[in-house]
């Protein structure tokens, strides 16, 4: 133990003695760790933002549908006995919102366009999605008035304002088409033109009425709350509902494109981690090789005094690990400071990217520092330093002490 402390002393004093070289090595390694920790925090922030946007726009954390449901079905697929699903959801302690979704055609001459008409529970829907907070005119749907909420892109395309009317063509649950006229009660804007053009909302009671469904018909239940643990939540919910009647999907299955994009990010990041640690390893291996060369005689003396080859390996690896440790500490300190700053101030991505669904909830990217990520970066850095020191250390242990002592 005391011998190990002496090795640390020797290593530290040698690191101090070669100030410039040590500073360069430590600086390079620290910079690598700084970049990794900060990029990881930004990536986490980006993913959090992408998830929040996708989930808050429409998806929710998970959704319950009738068994056999697929997106883009033209025929209404109601959830059987929705009260059973709702009871299961209530026991989870998560916010949820029932919906009755149907494709619809807005009749406006040559500007006619197809949209998704969502019947929503005006009180519950805002606990899952953020559309209510994006009103630019009028009011959010309410149970009192059967007014239509449309996106501002659609409003502008059709040249309509709050108070104007709009004709919707829908197919009832019996398969007949029917046209209904609604007053526009509100206009929202998410900033995502394609979404704002194609999503319109009514109170769920109004949609049930025009589709001529049961009084409690629901085609989809979206679950809100934090995105973390979505898969477990979906599995938990699925276990409480019979497979033959219901299907539960987490947002991973509902939005595979989102998951794929995050996986792509992770893979790119892993490549970056590999490159940075290769550089860390090369930097430390290079420094330690020089150290072994410079201290050839000293190593011969230590061997003459009875230091075993293992002891010599220990001495050199200790010095490499200390370089890595000091660098990791400095890099982590700087990255934590920068990460905390960026988690409060954020980076406005609006300057770098055009509007897309992943930033609909806001374009300011905030870093998310997770202590596991910081710990992992440090662990890998020190591990890499150790491994990089091993090769020069083994070479040092294999040196012929006689040659070392004869060298002048």
């Amino acid at each position: 133990m005391r011998l190990f402390l002496l090795y640390c002393t020797i290593a530290l004093r040698n690191i101090r003695r070669h100030r410039r070289r040590s500073a360069l090595t430590i600086g390079a390694v620290a910079f690598g760790i700084f970049c990794l920790v900060l990029f990881q925090a930004l990536k986490q922030g980006l993913h959090a933002k992408m998830i929040a946007s996708s989930l808050g726009l429409d998806l929710g954390v998970a959704q319950v549908h009738a068994a056999g449901y697929e997106p883009n079905m033209a025929v209404l697929h109601s959830i059987p006995a929705p009260e059973k699903a709702l009871a299961a959801l209530t026991s989870l302690g998560r916010p949820w919102a029932p919906r009755l979704k149907t494709p619809a055609l807005i009749l406006a001459g040559i500007r006619s366009s197809s949209v998704v008409l969502s019947g929503i529970d005006p009180a519950r829907e805002p606990t899952v999605t953020f559309i209510r907070s994006r009103l630019t005119a009028g009011a959010y749907p309410s149970d009192e008035a059967s007014n239509l909420l449309i996106g501002d892109t659609l409003a502008r395309t059709l040249d309509r304002a709050v108070g104007d009317t709009l004709d919707l063509l829908v197919q009832t649950s019996f398969g007949q088409t029917t046209t209904v006229r609604f007053v526009i009660g509100g206009i929202y804007r998410t900033g995502l033109a394609s979404f704002d053009r194609s999503h319109v909302y009514l109170p769920i009671a109004a949609v049930r009425h025009i589709l001529e469904t049961d009084a409690n018909a629901v085609s989809e239940i979206a679950v809100g709350g934090p995105a973390k643990g979505a898969r477990r939540l979906a599995a938990d919910l699925a276990s409480r509902l019979p497979d033959s009647e219901y299907q539960v999907r987490s947002f991973h299955e509902l939005a595979p494109d989102l998951v794929q994009l995050m996986e792509l990010n992770n893979a790119t990041f892993a490549l970056l981690v590999g490159i940075v640690f290769a550089i860390v390893a090369l930097g430390i291996a290079n420094t330690m090789t020089t150290v072994v060369f410079e201290r050839f005689r000293e190593l011969g003396t230590l061997a003459a005094l009875g230091t075993t080859p293992t002891g010599i390996v220990g001495l050199i690896v200790t010095e490499a690990a200390l370089l890595g440790l000091v660098a990791a500490a400095l890099g982590t300190l700087a990255a934590t400071a920068a990460g905390l700053y960026l988690s409060h101030v954020g980076v406005d991505l609006a300057r770098f990217t055009s509007a897309n669904q992943y930033f609909a909830a806001g374009t300011v990217l905030r870093a998310v520092l997770e202590w596991e990520d910081v710990a992992a970066a440090n662990l890998i850095a020190v591990g890499t330093a150790l491994a990089a020191g091993l090769y020069p250390a083994i070479r040092a242990a294999r040196l012929d002490p006689v040659a070392a002592l004869r060298a002048i």
Binding site: L6, R17, R297, L305
Partner: protein, 234 residues
């Protein structure tokens, strides 16, 4: 550990030792069928011109190297078939080295340099402290314990090296031209120190030199020439 198989009084026994260095096609016979015995407590000088094989002999006795043929036994232990780790442990326990160029660890203080072999020997903190104080007093450097080793004069550095060599109390001290980098007064003082330690602790001393005034101080002189003892001695 191999058992002592020579009487304890014969501390160093070399039997028909050859050491051949090969570099490419050429061969150098640094030691040629060399035999000799050194008794415990002897104060012996290896004398001879440069290239006569003095360093080679000291390296073989000290377990830093192994002979091409023949056997080397020190304190009853043969080094010939030991691996690197076993030879390191042999050096730790059996010999203390003093070098021509002192070879202190530059980043350590005087006391830390002396402590190093004591740490290898696994001595307790208290025992280490006592030994360091004792040997530094013996070599006359008690006041300089906390100085950086390299801040000392050549003569003082060699005294630290001697303190480092004797601190673990090895039976044998090997010194390869210990006075060659010192002026003659300082060199004589170093030999005085050797003599004193040899008398007090009956440690076996074997040192090499080609300086007649140093050679003259030894109780016994082994004259080397081309890897053999001089004919007059053999």
């Amino acid at each position: 550990m191999n058992k002592p198989d020579t009487p304890p009084t014969k501390t160093i026994v070399l039997e028909r030792v050859c050491k051949v260095y090969r570099s490419g096609a050429s061969q150098v016979r640094a030691l040629d069928d060399f035999s000799c015995t050194i008794e415990a407590g002897e104060f012996t000088c290896l004398a001879g011109p440069s290239g006569s094989g003095k360093s080679t002999l000291l390296h073989l006795i000290g377990g830093l190297d192994v002979p091409t043929s023949g056997t080397v036994r020190v304190a009853g232990r043969a080094t010939t078939h030991l691996d690197r780790t076993a030879r390191a442990l042999f050096r730790r326990e059996v010999v203390g080295f003093v070098f021509q160029t002192f070879n202190l660890i530059p980043v350590l203080t005087v006391a830390e340099n002396v402590e190093y072999p004591l740490l290898l020997a696994g001595l307790s903190a208290g025992e280490r402290r006592r030994r360091i104080a004792k040997v530094l007093a013996d070599v006359g450097l008690a006041d300089l314990a906390d100085r950086p080793a390299t801040a000392l004069s050549s003569g003082q550095q060699q005294r630290v090296a001697i303190a480092r060599a004797i601190a673990p109390r090895p039976p044998v001290i090997l010194a390869d031209e210990p006075t060659a980098n010192l002026d003659s007064t300082t060199g004589q003082a170093i030999i005085d120190l050797f003599v004193a330690i040899n008398r007090q602790q009956s440690t076996t001393f074997l040192f090499s030199s080609h300086d007649p005034r140093i050679i003259a101080r030894a109780n016994r002189v082994l004259w080397l020439e081309d890897g053999r003892l001089r004919p007059s001695q053999a």
